[in-house]
Point group: C3
């Protein structure tokens, strides 16, 4: 079902099983029909552990409603940040069936009606947002909805056909144009990507942590932390898998587990084996705290084998108020080449290096001088511990260096300017690179001496190329 037929039909509506059918279950459905089974996922919706649910589906599908064009209000809500956050969720959906292409089950042709302000999509965003899903592994682009209803709560939700009832609208033309673009991407159907990097975002870890009384009240910042680690790779065009802690770690060179508060059975052993076998691990503050029943692991954090793997003992955690800040200072001549100082917020683990090498220390407060970043050789691998919630600049510098040292797979051999994302799909033989500009202005990318064909236009691209606002190119060859 996931294949050419779907991709071709992508500008239409797809018959699929919806939430109302969840209780029936896969086997009951299968006893009546051969129709593939799916249901609409909703990003990181906390109400269901999608890793459990995905096992019972034939194909993963999800509803994506990003709020594009929202002005900056909190300092991080711009379209580029939003694009990276949406990419993070697309990658979860691709990983849920082990890299198998998913379906963009619902997206809106123009404005989402139930948001604070239903802003219409600016020219170009329709195609960009749709093709971003394909870039990350979707084999379809589908809409809710074909035609706006006359009544009820979704009557002002965007649709292919508006209340005016004809096709002479900007939105309809956008949909038709996208359909023509998709026609040219048949070769991509069924392809996927096999990243060198995995980030663990785990539903049950989120449930347990956010339900805990301490060290902060309410939301602990887990999802935000995972997205910010992810962003460091998105900015560089490095593909990432986003998995839960029960998945196989062996395909990866680099395993990142921000705020790994919960350790389900054998997770610590599996992580230890990964590092021992030559893998690189990054852990953070507030990790290895509880078991699968949210009961605290005794004997010192991070618990289980992680204390040995990381070579640190986290004696205390200091939670900072939103107005508080500390900084971390890299050690002189540290092997990662970190310099200057970085801002630390929210959490500061106070750790003892028990064999680990200290790469950075806290700048202020009573724990000035204590370890803030450590590295520990374990077997053939290495474990890093980031003990505080540092700014994006730290994550960019830190992961930038690891990416070089580990020669991580890149989608495109090029430096990407601000807002430009490169995502790879491949059948193992052919490479297809989606080059997407989420920045609202024109920009340029230097492709070097390589020459590509843009599947959307047939143009040959080489050297420095221009990208218009919200531009998308699909490079082949």
């Amino acid at each position: 079902m996931v294949g050419r037929e779907i991709l071709r039909a992508s500008a239409g509506l797809c018959a699929s099983l919806r939430r109302r059918d969840l209780r029936a279950g896969h086997s009951t459905i299968r006893s009546h029909a051969d129709t593939p089974v799916t249901t609409n996922f909703m990003g990181t919706f906390p109400g269901l552990n999608y890793w459990k649910m995905a096992q019972h589906l034939d194909v993963v599908s999800w509803d994506s409603y990003p709020r594009w064009h929202r002005p900056e209000a909190d300092g991080r809500a711009d379209d580029v940040t939003l694009a990276a956050d949406v990419a993070f969720v697309h990658d979860i959906n691709r990983c849920l069936k082990g890299g198998k292409p998913f379906m963009l089950m619902e997206s809106v042709p123009s404005a989402t009606n139930w948001v604070e302000a239903a802003k219409v999509k600016r020219p170009g965003m329709h195609a960009l947002s749709s093709l971003q899903a394909v870039a990350h592994g979707s084999d379809t682009v589908q809409y809710f909805q074909w035609r706006k209803s006359r009544g009820s709560s979704e009557k002002f939700h965007g649709a292919v056909v508006d209340h005016v009832g004809h096709e002479n609208t900007r939105v309809f033309r956008d949909v038709a144009d996208l359909g023509q673009k998709l026609e040219k991407l048949d070769a991509i159907v069924g392809t996927t990507v096999r990243p060198d990097v995995a980030i663990i975002y785990d539903w049950e870890n989120a449930w347990a942590m956010n339900d805990a009384q301490g060290p902060r009240r309410g939301d602990k910042g887990y999802l935000d932390a995972c997205k910010r680690h992810y962003r460091a790779f998105w900015d560089r065009g490095i593909p990432v898998d986003v998995i839960d802690m029960d998945q196989d770690f062996s395909p990866y060179k680099l395993l990142i587990a921000p705020m790994l508060y919960m350790l389900r059975p054998e997770v610590d052993e599996r992580i230890a084996a990964f590092v021992k076998g030559g893998g690189t691990l990054v852990l953070t503050y507030w990790s290895g705290i509880v078991d699968e029943n949210d009961l605290v692991i005794l004997g010192g954090w991070p618990g289980g084998m992680l204390r040995e793997v990381t070579g640190v003992w986290a004696e205390e955690i200091d939670a900072l108020y939103p107005q508080d800040a500390n900084h971390i200072i890299p050690a002189p001549s540290n092997p990662l080449g970190l310099k200057g100082e970085y801002l630390a917020r929210d959490y500061c683990d106070l750790v003892h290096a028990e064999g680990a090498t200290v790469l950075a220390t806290y700048k202020s407060d009573f724990y000035a001088g204590r370890p803030a970043l450590t590295t520990n050789a374990y077997g053939a691998g290495t474990a890093y511990t980031i003990t505080s919630n540092n700014d994006n600049r730290f994550l960019a510098d830190f992961y930038g260096r690891l990416a070089e040292d580990l020669a991580l797979l890149r989608s495109l051999n090029a430096e990407l300017p601000h807002g430009v994302s490169a995502q790879l799909r491949s059948d193992g033989e052919h490479r297809y690179v989606f080059l997407m500009n989420f920045y609202a202005g024109p920009t340029r990318v230097d492709l070097g001496e390589a020459a590509y064909t843009d599947l959307l236009t047939g143009e040959t691209l080489t050297g420095v190329i221009a990208l218009a606002p919200y531009d998308v190119k699909v490079l082949a060859g």
Copy 2:
């Protein structure tokens, strides 16, 4: 009952039927007594459509509790704005029975107790606030309450007689002084005003729009928009009727219908007939969208005959975030003499001129250059469409020019400085003009060569006169 007797008794309490009697109904009451029937309305209280309720009353009455002297918090909450907003509601109450004088059923002699901060009325505000009601058509000034109770939740609500139990208080003296003023206004009892302008504020339109999911969440800004259109006339001393969409439009030269989202049956035909007959119509964004059942009107907005009347088709509406803004730029040599540029917020309708003349265009975003203000000749009349929620300066300039062109009825032939309101009452022969200073400082008005008698003092007024803070004069002659 509404007449001299009531006005004379105005500083006391009036026997009236209250909310507890609503269920009994007019006919049941009438079967037992000849007492006129009323009940306390509460401004634009959304819970009841007062236009339906008013039909069952003999006289309209309402409870007015403005929060005077509140410091500016949101940039628009000053006493002058509040005065215009209260005037808007007084005018609704006068219109509810076709211009028949109403009753100020409840007002507070000093501080309202249940507000954020129970600020006492500054000297002069008592008389000013009370006489404003009379200026807009009330034939009474009544209080809640005569004497403060010893207990319960309203024990600190202002009263004529305070807990101290005697008459030697500032508040009692204010009440007595007002009583003396009212004695001098007997001639005004029973008079009214017949404005050239009507603004439609419609309860069911508000219900439907605010309940809708989109294009913004929650309150859609309808009441605020109506008050801001109203303000342009209040500032000029031009009387306004505030009506719902089912009232007769024929008495007016200018009909303004901000955000006329709902069109109940025949409203579009009645509007078309009004314009065809020579009337001037002003419509805005987000108009003619649904019918009386909140079902969308198909075939292009504004729906029904309004698309023909206005000569525009509104293809899309862009909802802006509170941080967003656009501007509109008047066309060179536009017949309204608009210049410079005006701020647009919240909503931008993206319309096509289908016969209408474009008077202004958007300045920025992807719809820069598209129509923002149009005019359309229809029959003997004219229909204007304002496609975005523009600043007060636009409304002042736009309606200022229409007021001149249409020679709209003015209460007073004088320029009014900031904060000064002029309101007219007349029996058809004599004119009584309430000149009221809501600005907290002294100001002046040039009456020109005309000479008036101030009914409150007996003074003759002509030329430039001074108004003290919160001053009121009632000009006759």
Copy 3:
């Protein structure tokens, strides 16, 4: 039970009766055992009138969880202000049984888990916060909890023994160190303090006032006002009793009753007798308003005998919005030596001096020039009335002068720098002064020519001594 044994065991857990036993009652318990009866009080918890409850206990105990190290967010939340606020509650607990030492039933060895951000205690704060309780009359320092649980909602609440399970932690060392300090304070067990000053903070007054509709909505600022009056004495090292209005006033030279909204039976007579007998009284705005049933006292405020005692009649109260402000201007050559002007917020009583002498007047608004501070001779005593909610600087200047004039008991004959508190305990013969630095930096105190022994170190202290951040010294001799 309250004595040497408890103090020595202070670093452990104390067997006590808890909330679950409240219903059983003292007599039922006593019929089965001689165990002293107590229950955990919770500061100014509004749900119970602790003055009623304390009568049924053998010893008062309370749970103190200050949020130390919270950054300034609202302009007043720093550790010094917090220290004074905690001192206020310690003093309530000492007064609840007439000056009998109380128990610090619960305190946390490190971070409280359920707060916005569980910040760990900075070095020194553990001992400082614990000994502050002793300084104000506690004979114990106890913790919740000995050992952290593995599960449930308090698993991350600080404990003597952490999940790591051994004693080699910063927190355990802090606890052990405190235990050694407490060993040296045996002489202090059973001692108390007998202040010259009492501030009335009354539960039922708070209930009635905060439940009232007016003159502000919701919380009326009563507790805050009491703490700010208290702070003026805390800053000077002047001991204060905090009592309710039913306690004996005769032991005091100075009785302060901020916002004495309610007057229970005979309270006005008892206050009058206190002043007539030579006492000094300070009343404020919004006083003498209702009786014990929250029914308004008729005939003029402040009600009962207070109008005669103060020599003022409060005709009206003006409630100010948070953005509003007035100022008060001291009368030239006023006997208190007040100068300049002081900020007034929230409430301005508009009073008439009926025999009282006016010491300050309002600066602005329509009541400029009217009394803002008055004094009235009554019998052998004096009654002051502060008619507005003035800034801390006013309270410091006003009470500073009263403290001198009345020669109020001081804990230490020394000027205290910002953040340093001095608290006295005595058995009538020996004096023990706790000198505590709540300021996060080093500071100095000039002890003059007197020489003391620091019970914690055995050192002799005289002249100018240095206090490290969070330092505590216990001066004897």
